[in-house]
Structure formats: structure tokens, C-alpha cells
Amino acid sequence: MYLVLRMARRLPTSARASRRVALLAVLGAALLLAACGSEDGGADGTVIGDTGADDRSPAMVAESQPRPSFVLTDTSGARFDFQAETEGFLTLLYFGYTNCPDVCPVHFGNIAGALDQIPSSLRGRVKVIFVGVDPPRDSAERLRSWLDHFDATFIGLTGTDDELRAAQVAAGVPPAQREPADENGRYAVSHAAWVTAYTAGDEETWWFPLGIRQATWASTIEELAQIGRTDS
């Protein structure tokens, strides 16, 4: 966890350039608005999904980490050796829970949308793993239906509390914690906020914090999927 990150080293220059142009345009529009003396600052212009020009960037971990070794159970009930099953693929790993209404669907909606945008030849080089860290509620059935909502090829894993803890420690994320239940027995789970990506041969490790736009997901995944694989 004590790693220095290099921000957005590989962000494609075309994306950077277009962002700069868009930013200039927004600034221009803002100046124009200010010039006509609008009293309430044009707040009505808010659009769904408009979060401004300062969206977040994925970050490459300065020293790449080998993909972690852990064994959990997949949604078919089979044991799943993470290292063995994902080696050779760009692998996106996330620890979440199916009763997570907010950040988990944001990540997975964007990943699913991004994968639809990249060439199908590269799509086959990517494996997406969601580990359900709330075993009382993350049953195999519920995990499967939650993931199918986004993409039927996404892999769902869960396990015992001990197995899940070991997996999170191996992956270098803070282990999830169940928060105290309320008067109705409902509880939230705090969990790592970012998605970790390992390139096919563990050449590079990337972190994707919350707040990444789908287009950035797509361009970064497309680039990372080409690392460490030679077409044969």
C-alpha cells in the first residue's frame, strides 16, 4: 500500500487533447454566461452525468505487483484458483457486495459499457472478477443475477469470512467490514473503493478509483489488453 503512483502515464494523447478542447469550450461558455449577467449562474443547465471536466484518472502502480494468489468459490459452486484461472488475461478485480446500491453498480455499469466499446479481439483477453465480501447475502445465485445484469461473462466469487479476508490481504486492499445493523437488521459493508487491473503477464498493475468516465475506462482497458500478449 505504500506505493507511489504515476498518474495517467498512458492516457492516450488524443483523449487528453479532446479534453483540453472541451475544457476550453466550457470555459468559453462560462465567460459568455457571465457576460450576460445571468443571476442564478445557469444552474438549470445541469445534465445527468455531467460531472465537469475534472474526472478522475486510472493510476499505474509504480512497481507492478504479481496478481495475488487465493482460492474462492465461483457462482457454479466450483473452487476458483484466481492466479491459475486468470493468468494470461488482463484481469480486473473488485471486492464489493450485492446489497451495495451506489458505488458497485457505478463501477460495473461503466466496465460493462466500456467492454462493449473495445474491439472484440481484445474483449476476449479481459476477465472481470467481482468478489462478494458479504457471504450472508452474497449467495452464488444472487451474485450471478447481480452480475448478469451487467455482463454474463463476469465472474463472481465468494467464500467464508476467513477465505475472503485472505484474498483481500493478498490483493493489498483493506479487508471489508460489516457495519453494525440497524433496528431492521440491515447493514452496510465498507469495502475497497477501487478496481485493480493486472495485465496479462503482470507487467503492470493499475488502480481505477471511483469517478472514472466510461470513455476513459474503454481507452485504458483497450490499451492494457494489448500488454504482455503476442498475437499468435
Binding site: 488524443s14 471489508a176 452496510a188 465498507s190 473503493a193
Partner: protein, 170 residues
């Protein structure tokens, strides 16, 4: 070539935004007529829930002269509706229930992905893109405000900006 295309797209978008901004200058009278509307809900939406719980997002505007407070919410699609906040703590996302959301006088409060949200618990039916969710929001001053939030594709909305990074505290 690709770079040029991006730049061109940026330019076209920029021109469109400038055109929209210019048009907005003519609307001052119309905007002024909303001033006394007190609480206004802008852009409510519910991303298609992947399970039997979901979240509603919106911007709450307060055009009144005094602060107001959202204290509860209800909907006929959910067994329970709660006000929640997701925040970053030591690299982990933590969701917690909040007692209320304060909307300053002549200000706004944003409910956005990865931040504050209205949590819809125990959904009694599947919500699909194109459906509508009726919400009743109760404010301390303004009382009940009804709003209809469209269900949108999960991937169709972007998360908020400015959430903490995995670097913080580690």
C-alpha cells in the same frame, strides 16, 4: 487522423455549448418566475438496479430565503426508503444512513453517484430502463414534494468527481 477527429468533435461540442449558453441569456424572465417555487428537484434519476435495491439521485435546489432540510423519503416501489451517504474512509467506501440533508437558502444540494443518495430498499418490482419511480420527499419547511424519477441504464450515468483516491491515508 484520430487526433484530428477528436479535436473536431471537441470544437463542434464547444460551439454547441456556446450556442446553448448564448440562448440561455434570453431566458432570464422565465427563470425569475421560478424564484418563489422554494424547493425544486432537478434531474432526478434511478440507475437500473442490479438487485432488489437501488438508489435515486437528483439535485435539490432551494430558491427560498431560508435553509431547508430533507428529512425523509418514501416510494411505492420500495419497502423502505432511507437517506444515505457513501464516503471514503482510509481507502474504503463506507455507506451510512444520514438523518437529513441540509439545503442552504438560495443554494443546492447534490445527490450523486458515490455520494449522497436516496436508497430504495426491498424493491417490490423489477425496475427497467424507461420505467418511472414516484418519490415523495419530505422537507422540514417545504413539506412534501413529489417527484418522478426515470429509470436509466446503469452505465448511462457517470459517477461524481472528487471522490477520494486510493492514495489517501496509505
Amino acid at each position: 487522423m484520430k487526433l484530428r477527429t477528436y479535436r473536431l468533435m471537441g470544437l463542434v461540442m464547444g460551439l454547441a455549448i456556446v450556442a446553448m449558453a448564448a440562448t440561455a441569456c434570453g431566458d432570464e424572465d422565465e427563470a425569475a418566475s421560478d424564484e418563489d417555487a422554494g424547493i425544486q428537484i432537478v434531474n432526478p434519476f434511478v440507475p437500473e438496479p442490479p438487485a432488489d435495491l437501488g438508489a435515486a439521485y437528483m439535485v435539490i435546489e432551494n430558491h427560498g430565503d431560508s435553509a431547508d432540510r430533507l428529512v425523509s423519503a418514501a416510494s411505492d416501489v420500495a419497502g423502505a426508503v432511507e437517506l444515505h451517504q457513501t464516503k471514503m474512509e482510509n481507502g474504503a467506501m463506507k455507506m451510512s444512513r444520514v438523518e437529513g440533508m441540509e439545503i442552504p437558502a438560495h443554494g443546492e444540494f447534490k445527490l450523486e453517484r458515490g455520494g449522497y443518495h436516496v436508497m430504495l430498499i426491498d424493491l417490490n418490482r423489477e425496475l427497467k430502463e424507461g420505467d418511472e419511480v414516484a418519490l415523495t420527499l419530505t422537507f422540514e419547511q417545504a413539506g412534501e414534494v413529489r417527484v418522478t424519477a426515470p429509470v436509466v441504464e446503469s452505465a448511462g450515468t457517470e459517477p461524481m468527481s472528487g471522490t477520494g483516491t486510493p492514495m489517501s491515508g496509505h
